[in-house]
């Protein structure tokens, strides 16, 4: 089972939640935001190709933690690959890349979530994950 590193070093210059929000809503027009006790939650639709549904996703983020992405609707198929046990999407391989709070969610997490959905749609039709996968590279 993959374990997530949930905290990141304080030494990194963080991008404020307000700045993250501005970038997300500029790039992804359907996204809206709400804040709750230091946590910020973005919700919005992503449609990875012209034949797919619009997937409603939610991104939860608080400073010094990693953003967590979940598909709210439509429900994902049972046994969908590349998920953590809590149902959030596994968008990167921590051995290759780590979240830092000087990164933009609009540059990384959301494009990867759209790409995850793109390969999920192909998986539904072929039963094969055709995107880059750590499973193919782990000994």
């Amino acid at each position: 089972m993959a374990k997530r590193k949930c905290t990141i070093p304080r030494s990194v210059q963080s991008i404020s939640l307000t700045w993250q929000d501005a970038h997300i809503r500029h790039r992804f027009s359907d996204f809206s935001v709400r804040r709750y006790k230091g946590e910020i939650v973005w919700g919005g639709g992503l449609q990875p190709n012209l034949t797919s549904p619009i997937y409603q996703i939610e991104i939860r983020y608080r400073l010094r933690e990693v953003p967590k992405v979940r598909v709210i609707a439509p429900p994902l198929a049972p046994k969908a690959p590349h998920l953590y046990s809590n149902g959030t999407l596994c968008l990167y391989w921590p051995k290759e890349w780590r979240w830092r709070q000087d990164q933009l969610i609009a540059d990384t997490i959301i494009p990867w979530a759209a790409t995850w959905l793109y390969y999920y749609e192909l998986w539904l039709d072929t039963d094969k994950w055709l995107g880059p996968s750590s499973h193919d590279r782990q000994d």
Binding site: D30, L91, E96, I110, W112, T115, T126, W129, L130, S133
Partner: protein, 359 residues
């Protein structure tokens, strides 16, 4: 439920017009445009011409065999000046010189004949039809124009460019699904109806009506679901006519001007269309309700034809997977994964990543 997005992507590719036909549709109209522009006895006004119809809307399917082509002339439509009937005659006379001017002779010759509101040009060598429709456009093509009604010898309102713009807006506002939906509806008609076909414009008007006016289609759904919902919605809109009258036919409203565009739909042709619709909505419903992928594919093949709806999409999926690779692809503001930028919109490069996780 299997919505088979990859299969539908391949279906859309399979019904897309061949490139050589699109090239002809692109290349021939400018020849006619230039011929008329330079003609001394027939004056056209800038910008002289505009492509409309399915080709102009980018909703063509199958073999593009004809293109509608507006030619702008001067006039006062309310005073019937020039006289609509006479203008069609004049245009026909001028276009009679077209074959010689273009050097088309012998087996590559051109047939020119007068139609109800246009001059019909048939390029035999290309098996390609061009309907040249003269129009008075007081405020340009972007506003309401007037086209001849030869039978009644008058000019009547039309707004084909408005329809093209409306379709683009609806398509942009609905995840790019409206054009594919119209194409699927046209292909469904072509596949199941050799004769008695409802006109493409009626199908377009029906699709627009259900998306924009009645708002009974959920365009956040997969295209497969949307197509089934459209067939069902059209059937339910008109099935009462089958039970309450022996003669009634639908009044399909024009998407912009709202007049009845299907005024000449015969009852028997309407009944045939409703039978095909009923079959289509039942088959597509079975496809969506099936728990077995192969079974679902089989039902969709009844709807769209085995030669168009693929059984197997391994190769297609591999190509799409390659196209979407992080590090090479882009994501649009609505989440579409694309290989390159289009002219407008915000695009974000997808950085390289490797998907991970326990499952």
């Amino acid at each position: 439920m299997y919505t088979l997005g990859t299969h539908f992507q391949q279906l859309l590719t399979n019904i897309h017009p061949p490139q050589e036909r699109l090239d002809i549709a692109r290349d021939l109209p400018p020849l006619v445009r230039d011929f008329l522009k330079q003609h001394k006895e027939f004056t056209t006004l800038r910008p002289h011409s505009h492509l409309v119809g399915s080709y102009g809307q980018d909703t063509s399917v199958g073999d593009v065999k004809d293109v509608d082509f507006l030619v702008r002339v001067d006039g006062k439509p309310e005073e019937n000046k020039p006289e609509a009937k006479q203008l069609i005659r004049d245009l026909k006379k001028v276009l009679d010189d077209l074959p010689e001017a273009l050097g088309y002779t012998g087996c590559a010759s051109i047939d020119i004949e007068r139609a109800r509101r246009s001059i019909h040009i048939y390029f035999k060598g290309h098996d390609f039809h061009l309907d040249v429709v003269p129009c008075i456009a007081p405020n340009g093509f972007e506003e309401i124009i007037y086209v001849p009604d030869r039978g009644f010898n008058k000019w009547i309102k039309s707004h084909p460019v408005g329809v093209i713009k409306l379709l683009k807006e609806l398509n942009d506002d609905n995840g790019g699904k409206v054009r594919p939906l119209v194409k699927l509806l046209k292909h469904f008609r072509n596949y199941h109806m050799q004769t008695r076909k409802p006109k493409s414009y009626w199908l377009l008007a029906l699709a627009i009506h259900h998306i924009r006016v009645t708002d009974d289609l959920d365009t956040t759904q997969p295209l497969a679901v949307l197509f089934h919902e459209l067939l069902d919605a059209i059937y339910c809109q008109y099935d009462h006519l089958l039970h309450t009258s022996d003669t009634a036919t639908p009044n399909i409203p024009d998407p912009i001007l709202e007049h009845n565009v299907s005024w000449n739909w015969s009852r028997t042709h309407f009944e045939t269309f409703m039978r095909r619709l009923d079959e289509g909505r039942r088959w597509s419903g079975k496809a969506l309700n099936s728990d077995d992928k192969q079974d679902a594919i089989g039902w969709w093949q009844k709807v769209f034809g085995e030669e168009y709806f693929p059984s197997e999409v391994g190769d297609v999926a591999s190509r799409l997977a390659e196209m979407g690779l992080p590090g090479r692809s882009l994501v649009t503001s609505s989440g579409l994964i694309v290989p390159s930028k289009s002219t407008t919109g915000i695009y974000t490069p997808v950085q390289q990543t490797t998907f991970h996780g326990e499952t």
